[in-house]
């Protein structure tokens, strides 16, 4: 494995690492959101449960936006190109 190809400065590397970590967090956030919506559709949660879960997810969404801004990462950068497997997160 030749590392000579990796001609990036350590700032960029740091940003890439943060972007990678935040991408994983964003993936989890989206999965949780999807799960919550599925549960709502199934109708097995009370209104107050839904509100509580919704509030948590909403705050998490905000926190993600803050983290992105803090680290100079745009929301669109939160993704991972898996080549033939497409991208990790939906693009639209």
């Amino acid at each position: 494995m030749t590392t000579s190809r990796l001609d990036v400065d350590s700032d960029q590397l740091g940003r890439d690492l943060v972007a990678l970590v935040l991408t994983v967090v964003e993936l989890l956030r989206q999965l949780m959101e999807r799960q919550a919506i599925r549960r709502i559709d199934q109708g097995d949660l009370t209104d107050s449960q839904v509100d509580e879960i919704g509030t948590t997810l909403m705050l998490l969404d905000q926190r993600m936006a803050e983290l992105c801004e803090q680290h100079g990462v745009r929301p669109e950068d939160l993704n991972l190109d898996l080549g033939p497997l497409g991208s990790l997160l939906p693009r639209d």
């Binding site: 350590s10 590397l13 690492l17 970590v21 898996l82 033939p84 497997l85």
Partner: protein
């Protein structure tokens, strides 16, 4: 359509960025149905690209930037 004019008679120059779009070309020259196996390379598929780019990212983190996890983690 004239029979004499062969459809693909505008083979583009080697260095030309114009002409056939690279993505379309790669769809075709990176075989998904390999006709025969050679000696040195059995098949080129772009799955190694995924492994390679992840590996590049992870090993670069390992060597150049301390990982956020203390015990060396999954790297």
């Amino acid at each position: 359509m004239e029979r004499e004019v062969v459809p693909w008679d505008n083979a583009e120059p080697l260095s030309g960025p114009i002409g056939v779009p690279l993505v379309d070309l790669l769809d075709r020259v990176l075989a998904t149905g390999v006709v025969i196996s050679g000696d040195l390379v059995i098949a080129i598929a772009d799955v190694p690209l995924v492994r390679l780019s992840l590996h590049a990212l992870l090993s670069s983190v390992n060597e150049r930037v301390p990982a956020p996890w203390a015990d060396g983690g999954p790297l």
